[in-house]
């Protein structure tokens, strides 16, 4: 029997217990919670508390954090192809605290992978997998795979470009398993196409099946851990201690440190901005959100999350082996490695076996680390390579066009030189690959920023989803369409400064570069930068420029009537005073609806009269109500307006535009019977709007 008197129960002589104590007694009598607490806290730690035992606890803590943040995220997430990105955008950018919630979930997931590796390493090095703890070790390995499964499925849920493309790769790899692969893939993605059911299934896996299984296994894992007791690292030099409070303190400090690191990753950019005196946009703190998933856009920046990068790189080892190589790299070798790990408790029965296990684990982790480093080096190589040393090789490469015979001739048939140069060419190749990745990453950032800007419009996101909005945005689609359909002839370059075309964002994306830099020199049709504005018209009416590459210089109209007029008639100061020409320029910009707001009405009227004049522009061009017959020169009624641009892109051979004297421009909106036109009306609208600079700008930026 108990020698300890129960205060408050054994009569009036016992000292009075506080209210809390009484409540505790009441509950303990009915639940026995004290015994449970005691069982949980007073576990003997042989040799006393040690830092090396904290990893398991930090993992449980990380998982609890994911559970808490995940449940709250769940309260705002919507799993469908038309709402996933949108709801994550809303969490990240519109909900109070959403950025912090998502940031913790995102980075704690990454911390968890690191902690997993540390826990595994500690268990293997300490030989904690040995009898009688084999089953618990196996459970741990299953738990590890469940965690990695949650990481993989969670990556897709925002339905942004990077998650989407990474998941396509991952599910396609599952599809190469012989026999059952295609069925597995179809089951995982919920059909043949990635869409609503891919998301609902991934979400159910991520937030239901996998964590449910994990909790069940974790309970057994912990129960077995308590059953066998803590496996102490030998030799034991200090006296035993209790789990509570010594080991708990170490565990708690480690947990706090993990959380501090996660918060640090989220908040450091904010602190930096604060110190620099900049405004902090909380929406851009924490986890990234890319542009919405678009199956129609190439995405060269597709990479798995960093902890899967080693697998991604490992597959490259088998390059050239085809599907067999992928099967080996993605399924067989990882499967074998897991197999060896499962056998570790048995291998470890022998002393040498234990050493093998430790070496194997270190080898696998080290190999993964090396592969990760290799992958990063390949992607970011262009950042740290000395480009100056490659300039000569680049020049030679451009000259010889990669032709072996030409190269040999250029190097005087010196085998040593040729071999050295080939090595340099190889380096160049690596730089090109890396640069392509860096460019794509940069472009992805620009696209993401634009999508987020668009989502913040007062009209919000259309019911069909964000992708529709992005696809109808002239600012993002214009450059793509222009590059695909127009840039083979036309340039789009600021002739004054040769800066990237979009000065709004002042970005230097690959798309910009394609449209600028050397583009003007190579172009064979007019530079369309600021087409419709006074600056463009001023160049056209400049005798020095009209026959240059920015206007008619590389076209069939190089010696045409217009060039002749600008070079001979306009230079006659008697008939064309400088004020007159300026008035014409301003009036033309006004016709396009792009005139400077400061342009005086009187000047515009004067210009309009000059243009319509049958002895001046009006002798060839129709304008105002001058009734000049169409066909001899483009119609200037509504010149540069949206309607006019759409018209000329649709059919430049129409009598309103160049008619029979059209140079090489295709009729993009017209097609032979039965065939589809090269561009849809919507695409032509997008190009016209982009050329005119008409797209959504947030109110704050407009000020």
């Amino acid at each position: 029997m108990s020698t300890h008197a129960r205060p408050g129960r054994s009569g009036e002589t016992a000292p009075k217990r506080g209210l809390l104590g009484q409540l505790g007694d009441f509950l303990d009598d009915r639940t026995g919670f004290r015994a449970v607490m005691h069982e949980a806290l007073y576990e003997r730690v042989p040799g006393g508390a040690r830092w090396r035992y904290v990893w398991g606890s930090t993992l449980v803590f990380a998982f609890m954090t994911q559970l808490i943040t995940g449940l709250f995220l769940w309260a705002s997430y919507s799993a469908s192809a038309q709402t996933a990105w949108e709801s994550v955008y809303y969490i990240q950018h519109e909900m109070t605290g959403g950025w912090l919630l998502r940031g913790i979930h995102h980075f704690m997931a990454q911390a968890m992978v690191v902690l997993l590796a540390l826990h595994l390493l500690q268990v293997v090095i300490d030989g904690a997998y040995r009898a009688p703890r084999e089953v618990n070790f196996w459970l741990g390995l299953v738990l590890m795979m469940l965690v990695l499964g949650m990481a993989l499925t969670g990556y897709l849920l925002p339905w942004d470009q990077k998650g989407y493309w990474a998941t396509i790769v991952a599910t396609n790899l599952a599809g190469i398993i012989p026999g059952i692969g295609p069925s597995i893939q179809q089951l995982v993605i919920g059909g043949n196409e990635y869409g609503h059911h891919t998301l609902t299934r991934f979400f159910a896996l991520h937030a239901g099946f996998l964590p449910g299984a994990l909790i069940a296994m974790l309970v057994v894992h912990l129960a077995l851990f308590r059953k066998h007791g803590l496996h102490a690292k030998q030799p034991i030099t200090k006296p035993d201690a209790m789990f509570w409070p010594d080991q708990v303190l170490k565990d708690a400090v480690a947990m706090l440190a993990v959380m501090a690191v996660v918060l640090g990753v989220i908040l450091v950019p904010a602190i930096k901005a604060m110190l620099a005196g900049q405004a902090i946009d909380t929406g851009h703190l924490g986890a990234e959100l890319g542009a919405p998933a678009d199956p129609s856009l190439p995405y060269a920046a597709a990479r798995p999350e960093w902890y899967f990068l080693f697998l991604f790189q490992f597959l490259k080892v088998f390059e050239g082996w085809g599907a067999t190589g992928e099967f080996l790299g993605a399924i067989v070798v990882p499967g074998l490695i897991m197999g060896v790990m499962f056998l570790m408790p048995i291998i470890g029965r022998w002393n040498l076996g234990h050493r093998f296990n430790v070496a194997f684990t270190l080898g696998v982790l080290g190999g993964a680390g090396l592969l990760t480093a290799l992958a990063l080096n390949e992607d970011y190589y262009a950042l740290w390579v000395d480009k100056a040393s490659l300039a000569e090789a680049q020049k030679l490469y451009d000259e010889t066009d990669g032709d072996e015979a030409k190269l040999a001739a250029a190097l005087g048939n010196d085998p040593a030189k040729i071999a050295a140069m080939k090595k340099q060419f190889h380096t160049l190749e690596k730089v090109r690959h890396s640069q392509a990745f860096l460019d794509a990453s940069k472009q992805a950032k620009v696209d993401a920023a634009r999508a987020i800007e668009l989502a913040g419009r007062p009209e919000k996101i259309p019911p069909a989803g964000m992708l529709e909005l992005v696809r109808s945005d002239p600012k993002s689609q214009g450059p793509i369409l222009f590059a695909q359909h127009c840039a083979s002839c036309h340039a789009h370059v600021d002739p004054a400064s040769d800066t990237p075309m979009d000065r709004q964002l002042a970005s230097d994306t690959p798309m910009d570069r394609q449209l600028s830099a050397a583009a003007l020199a190579k172009s064979s049709a007019a530079n369309l930068f600021e087409f419709g504005k006074a600056s463009w018209m001023r160049g056209l009416l400049d005798p020095k420029q009209v026959a240059g590459p920015a206007y008619f210089g590389n076209t069939a109209h190089k010696e045409g009537d217009m060039v002749n007029f600008v070079q001979n008639d306009l230079t006659d100061a008697e008939t064309w005073k400088p004020d007159d020409i300026e008035a014409v320029i301003v009036a033309m910009a006004a016709e396009a609806g792009l005139a400077d707001t400061a342009a005086a009405k009187a000047t515009i009227e004067k210009g309009r009269a000059l243009i319509a004049d049958g002895d001046r522009c009006g002798s060839c061009h129709r304008f105002g109500d001058n009734k000049t017959e169409l066909g001899s020169a483009p119609d200037l009624v509504g010149w540069g307006s949206r309607e006019w641009l759409v018209g000329i892109i649709t059919d430049p051979t129409h009598e309103r535009f160049y008619g029979d004297s059209n140079d090489r421009m295709p009729s993009f909106g017209k097609a032979d019977e039965g065939a589809a036109p090269m561009l849809t009306r919507q695409q032509i609208d997008l190009i016209a709007d982009w050329l005119r600079g008409e797209w959504y700008r947030p109110a704050a930026a407009a000020h």
Binding site: M1, H4, A75, Y90, D251, A252, V253, I461
Partner: protein, 188 residues
């Protein structure tokens, strides 16, 4: 010896020094601090709806005056307005319904919200057109929205501000009122 008593004994036998107390306190504080950020972030985001504002009341064009027969019988009209649902913006969508009614020869229009003031169900016209009835709890209202006692509804149907523009367009100040209370209090 019972398990219980055994526990207490071991407990009593442990050192309870000052260092031990500090260790316990530190352990609880560190562990507690570690779980604060996810909880704070979660609750912070969860409470985010409280800071959201409704669309606000404004006059919306409903119909033409001529579309409302001047026979004193209410007619149901859809309310079309732009609507924002979290991240989605809907343009010109049916967002609710109002009853409009006009007395013989009158140019004045009376507007009633179709939302029952009791629990928010959609109030319907009874088949004969003699009164309103809510299908949920049988609240009955007269054609001018008056309460027919005894009624589960704490107040008459909510009248809405209504005006007729010069071109004959009928505009209603469409807004929602809190259900279940005697007073007519606009929802924020």
């Amino acid at each position: 010896m019972s398990q219980h008593a055994h526990d207490r004994q071991t407990h009593a036998g442990e050192p309870e020094g000052r260092r031990h107390f500090l260790t316990k306190l530190l352990a609880v504080v560190c562990g507690g601090l570690a779980v604060v950020p996810p909880l704070v972030a979660g609750v912070w985001a969860f409470l985010s709806p409280l800071s959201r504002r409704g669309a606000g009341a404004k006059f919306l064009p409903i119909t033409e005056l001529s579309a409302i027969p001047d026979d004193g019988v209410p007619r149901q009209f859809a309310v079309i307005a732009d609507r924002v649902d979290a991240w989605t913006g809907f343009a010109a969508e049916p967002v609710g319904a109002v009853y409009l009614r006009r007395e013989k020869g009158s140019q004045q229009v009376e507007a009633l919200s179709a939302t029952c003031p009791h629990a928010g169900c959609f109030v319907e016209m009874e088949a004969g057109g003699k009164c309103f009835r809510c299908p949920c709890h049988n609240s009955e209202f007269t054609l001018d929205g008056g309460i027919v006692a005894p009624s589960p509804s704490p107040r008459p149907m909510d009248a809405l501000e209504c005006r007729v523009a010069k071109n004959g367009e009928v505009e209603v100040m469409f807004q929602k009122f809190r259900a279940g209370i005697a007073g007519k209090v606009a929802q924020q």
